[in-house]
Amino acid sequence: MTTTHVEVRPGAYADSVTLLRVSRTAQQLDGVVAAQVAMATPLNVDVLTGMGFSVPAGTGANDLVVALHLTGDDALPAAVAGVDRALAEATRPAPDGGAGAVAPPRTTATALDRAPGSVVLVSVPGPHATVEAMDALDAGSDVMIFSDNVPVEQEVALKQAAAQRSLLVMGPDCGTAVLDGLGLGFANVVEPGPVGLVAASGTGCQQVMALLDHAGVGVRAALGVGGRDLSAPVDGLATREALRRLDADPAVVLIVLVSKPPAAEVAERIDRLVATLTTPVEYALLGPGRPDLTAATEAALVRLGRPVPDWPVHGTARPASGGHRLRGLFVGGTLATESAQIAGEDAARAGHTFVDFGDDEWTRGRAHPMIDPTVRLEHLAAVLADPETAVVLLDLVLGHGAEPDPASVLAPAIAGSRVPVVVSVVGTGADPQDLAAQIDALVAAGAEVHLSHAGATRRALALLPADTTTGAAR
């Protein structure tokens, strides 16, 4: 006889990654069938409801919810004690209180007093990110804002302050950067080399880095600027600073700018700046009628005078066996956009879908899906069971910051299905997750694995039954 326990702890707080770890620990406790420990944001309340928990009315985003399905009432005390233990262990220990003990810094400003000259990485919830980022600029440090949900007017104010001080604000919503060989956020392990990347897209940047790495070309620096940087309000402020810096670096032979197409007036300003640089700039701008990221990478290789390799494919997807819809479920926003674009305008009409689980609406109060796969896994199970589904297209992104073994949760979900599954893996041989092992696990589960995301998309489209393929698919 299973029982359910839902407990609201008002005013308790822990960040979403900590709570993910606590939830995972709780799931493994004796007598626990399912567990979710999360802040009660609207998204998390949906997740809890989907798991069969009812969250009391009036519970809000500042309240912590401990929700447990148990094998019986007997299991409750030990399970709650286990959750409490996991919460206590997940939050860092307090200083020992001895006379010499120095408590950890409480603000970015204090941290920079203690470690002057550091680069700053801000990943607090969006409404709180600007204040911390401003501390960095006040101390003369560059800052990467990993947080999303930062209001655009705050982004503009930050980047204007940075421009006055010749500092770089990467982000907000910046997933990837490589500075002085240090990968920040989600970053693939690549060799130093002649390319400098400026990217308004995290996974777009990672795709280009991974393909360059496969082609034997290293990356000097990757400066993420955030998805809105080239919009009219932000006016490319960070992109311009990033271009100037890479141009000034003699080790950079070619700059690649990865972005959605800029607003027209911003594009003009960027073009004018590019014309003054001594380093050539290759554009990789995603948009209708423009080359995809693989094609843009190939163009960069040609400009560097390097051979363009064949992008590897592992395994073979199952043949389609019914259904009419392509279901693209992505952790990479740019990868979702690229797939939708390759599929063409007819794809939406045909009912194909391309969902980005890293989008703000899926991450309010939850960790990014490259850290917390829960939400995408739920949807994957649903589309695999849906008779309408003809083909599933997924991405799997490796590198520092990402899940330690993402294939281990995707592969079992894929394995039992009749549906053909195509996966693009964005990663390098030096990434901590072991690229080859990730590919092997997916192939063993019946998936077809591509290194080129554009290639994976075209293959998924080709697997659709003839009557549902779109004009753009070839």
Partner: protein, 474 residues
């Protein structure tokens, strides 16, 4: 490029990813800010005036030096007229005045001869005719505890030699049954009359002699030394008091002899000052006010320039918001009680003496005064941790006032409203406790903090001013 180091504010996972790349990582122990302050914090953080304004306000405060230039009745130096009463803290009416403030006003009325029996003064203040109440802070003065100043009371006059600006404070009466703690018995009035008739004129002679010789008592310098001698200059002023006696003693004896003052009076004055370990507090307080007044009215500055309590309300003033008081209920101190007194006997926090903490001494310099940590109910590690913790909410450190045991670090200086709201760390104040009932006097001493909401209120006003200024500029 250089070897990078990282400050990570937010999720540990991203800090771990950097640490895995063998980069030094400083982790910020981030917590959400005080409820409802996130938007105002972002507005104020991105105010283009803020950084320079705070630098200016802090520098203005730290540049001030204080010398003792005169001792004179309040009627002379403050222009206080008969029936005008000054009191500690933000403005208050007789109706809302606490017991100790009422007691001190009643004693003050008797001292001024407005009534014969202090008990009769209650009706006089209730009627409001021919008497008025005004904060000390509004008249260039500070008052310890009830802070009542009447025209006939003698005041220390402190001057900034660079600008000629002045601040004032009454002479310290000692401990126990004293006016500032709300006692008004015959012995209290008798002592005050002696201070006006004998002590005040004697001190004036000595102070003027030193001033006229071009060697006025360097109050800032004495503070520098006493902080190295185990005084934090709020609840412990023993070293400061003895240094003042050393400085004034010879001139006191010489000027008294020249004026024909009996040597018994001189002996009594020296015994009174030497026997009152808090005597120097009434010089430390106006020296702090003098410094903080220099930091007032800097548009855009988020620095606190006064913290003061009237026994009912705790109020702060902020550099960037003019003379507005932001108030909330005064709290009960936590500490030790004299004799049979207990928490039920204590009045909520009272006095302008928190001006010392506002300037970075007192509770902020707790680490330098291990001898008193037990008196205020703490331990030595608490004292070190307190001073370090206060650095989290201040804009900088003093150059002059240093703490030997913390490697001569300057005391934390310039309380920043935004840092208080961000960290939830409240200024730590060392304080005496007055009896709740008028006439009782001191009942204990301990530690107290301001009510948190007054910092959020000040922040809201700072944000409003920022938005208005932006609107005017647009």
């Amino acid at each position: 490029m250089t070897n990078p180091s990282l400050v990570s504010t937010g999720t540990d996972l991203l800090a771990d990813a950097a640490a895995d790349q063998a980069v030094p990582v400083t982790r910020v122990d981030w917590h959400p800010p005080m409820g409802g302050t996130a938007a105002d914090l972002a507005t104020v953080a991105t105010d283009p005036l803020r950084r320079a304004a705070n630098e200016r306000a802090l520098a203005a405060m730290l540049d001030v030096t204080a010398t003792l230039v005169d001792v004179a009745p309040a009627s002379e130096v403050l222009g206080l007229a008969p029936g005008e009463f000054l009191h500690a803290g933000p403005p208050i009416t007789w109706e809302r005045a606490s017991g100790p403030l009422r007691g001190a006003l009643m004693g003050g009325a008797a001292l001024e001869g407005l009534v014969t029996d202090p008990e009769d003064a209650a009706a006089l203040f209730a009627s409001g005719s021919s008497v008025s109440l005004e904060p000390c802070h509004h008249r260039g003065a500070v008052g310890p505890m009830a802070g009542v100043v009447t025209p006939g009371m003698w005041m220390f006059v402190i001057e900034d030699p660079a600008t000629g600006r002045r601040a004032h404070c009454s002479l310290n009466e000692g401990l126990g049954k004293v006016l500032r703690y709300g006692a008004y018995g015959p012995e209290v009035i008798r002592r005050l009359r002696w201070m006006g008739d004998v002590l005040g004129p004697l001190l004036r002679g000595a102070v003027r002699a030193r001033r006229d010789a071009g060697e006025p008592v360097d109050v800032t310098g004495v503070l520098t030394q006493m902080l190295q001698m185990g005084d934090e200059a709020h609840n412990r002023n023993r070293a400061g008091t003895l240094m003042l006696l050393r400085d004034l003693g010879p001139d006191l004896v010489a000027t008294a002899a020249a004026a024909g003052v009996p040597s018994t009076d001189v002996a009594e004055a020296l015994r009174f000052v030497g026997g009152n370990d808090h005597f120097f507090l009434n010089l430390a307080m106006p020296a702090c006010k003098l410094a903080l007044d220099a930091a007032r009215d800097v548009d855009g500055s988020t620095m606190v320039v006064a913290m003061a309590r009237n026994g009912t309300d705790f109020g702060i003033q902020v550099s960037g918001t003019g003379d507005e008081w932001f108030t909330g209920p005064a709290q009960l101190a936590d500490g030790l009680f004299l004799g049979d007194y207990g928490p039920a006997d204590a009045n909520p926090d009272i006095g302008d003496s928190a001006i010392t903490e506002t300037a970075g001494i007192g509770g902020f310099a707790m680490a330098t005064a291990p001898a008193i940590v037990r008196f205020v109910g703490g331990t030595v590690p608490d004292a070190l941790a307190t001073t370090r913790r206060m650095r989290e909410i201040t804009l900088g450190e003093s150059r002059r006032w240093t703490v030997p045991i913390l490697e001569f670090a300057g005391v934390p200086s310039g309380i920043d409203v935004t840092r208080v709201c961000r960290t939830g760390i409240l200024p730590q104040i060392n304080t005496g406790m007055a009896g709740r009932v008028a006439g009782v006097g001191q009942v204990g001493a301990g530690l107290v903090t301001p009510p948190a909401e007054i910092f959020a209120k000040a922040l809201t006003r700072l944000a409003e001013r920022t938005v208005l200024r932006r609107g005017a500029a647009a």
